[in-house]
């Protein structure tokens, strides 16, 4: 006990209520995709909806709907989207309502307009 106290005073508190600094390896975790809406077209969105194995993607008119809760972060959309989808690197995804996990992404022109 005295040793713990001494070490705590010498080195500072070593435990926190929640990781104050994200673990470096957490950057490599598989995460749901984030989309660049400028690069999304309707055709591309439909293709991504088709290849999503967990039904996490759907298209509603000019919106691509990403269900973060259903996403398994498999990476298929990222590999097939030619840059329109990239890992979001977000993993603190706990939600108090299911609808918080539904993300609507506006579909752009399919190319970056200068």
């Amino acid at each position: 006990m005295a040793l713990w106290l001494f070490r705590g005073l010498r080195k500072g508190v070593v435990t926190t209520r929640y990781p104050a600094v994200t673990d470096p390896w957490a950057r490599g975790l598989p995460t749901p995709p984030a989309f660049d809406e400028r690069l999304l077209s309707r055709a591309l969105a439909d293709r991504l909806v088709e290849i999503c194995p967990s039904r996490a993607l759907a298209r509603e008119d000019d919106c691509l709907v990403l269900d973060v809760g259903a996403c398994t972060a498999c990476g298929r959309c990222i590999s097939q989207s030619a840059g329109a989808a990239r890992p979001s690197r977000l993993f603190e995804l706990a939600a108090t309502g299911r609808e918080q996990l539904l993300k609507r992404i506006a579909i752009g022109s399919g190319e970056i307009v200068a």
């Binding site: 435990t15 209520r17 929640y18 990781p19 994200t22 673990d23 957490a26 975790l29 749901p32 995709p33 984030a34 989309f35 660049d36 809406e37 400028r38 967990s54 039904r55 996490a56 990403l66 269900d67 973060v68 809760g69 259903a70 996403c71 398994t72 972060a73 498999c74 990239r86 890992p87 979001s88 690197r89 977000l90 993993f91 603190e92 995804l93 706990a94 939600a95 108090t96 309502g97 299911r98 918080q100 996990l101 993300k103 992404i105």
Partner: protein
């Protein structure tokens, strides 16, 4: 399965969730005990849950403990796609837990992402039990689980509703 235990939408459900979270927070000046139920998961979620007890995460320092007895549990942590074969076990476990109790759905399966509703599975946990906190991931990493637990007990606020999942958003996705 009773009608009252089925997930209901709308404002009433939100009030109920808010009240549950409030009750739970009032109680969590003390420690919290968690009962896990696997409703047909592939066991990777269990593997991640078990890692919460490793020294690196050290769940006990936060006053959170796992218990094998639902009568001692404040929180029901459910993995898997809510297979119908587990209906009785799930309902008995939920009924045996003292009030207030919260339900946390862990992984893409109980959130409806992997298995559709069919004759074998409900496909999503909120068709069976009122779910208070949803933790996405396949599997959720121990860090994500820890955040989910702390959101459930009100020590952290949820962040995901503020994220747009658009690369050029000011949410600061480092792409």
């Amino acid at each position: 399965m009773t009608g009252a235990s089925l997930g209901a939408g709308g404002a009433a459900a939100e009030d109920r969730v808010a009240q549950r979270l409030h009750d739970a927070r009032a109680m969590f000046g003390r420690s919290l005990h968690i009962r896990t139920v696997d409703t047909g998961s592939c066991a990777v979620c269990e593997s991640e849950i078990r890692l919460l007890l490793a020294p690196h995460y050290d769940l006990h320092r936060l006053g959170l403990f796992f218990t094998p007895a639902p009568r001692h549990a404040d929180m029901l942590m459910v993995t898997g796609p809510a297979v119908r074969a587990m209906d009785t076990a799930l309902q008995k476990t939920y009924a045996a837990m003292p009030e207030p109790k919260i339900v946390i759905a862990v992984g893409a399966c109980p959130l409806g992402g992997v298995y559709p509703e069919d004759e074998l599975a409900h496909g999503s946990l909120d068709r069976v039990l009122p779910v208070d906190v949803f933790v996405p991931g396949c599997p959720p990493s121990p860090l994500a689980l820890l955040q989910g637990l702390l959101v459930a007990v009100g020590r952290l606020s949820e962040k995901v509703s503020g994220e747009s999942f658009v690369g050029s958003s000011p949410g600061g996705l480092d792409l």
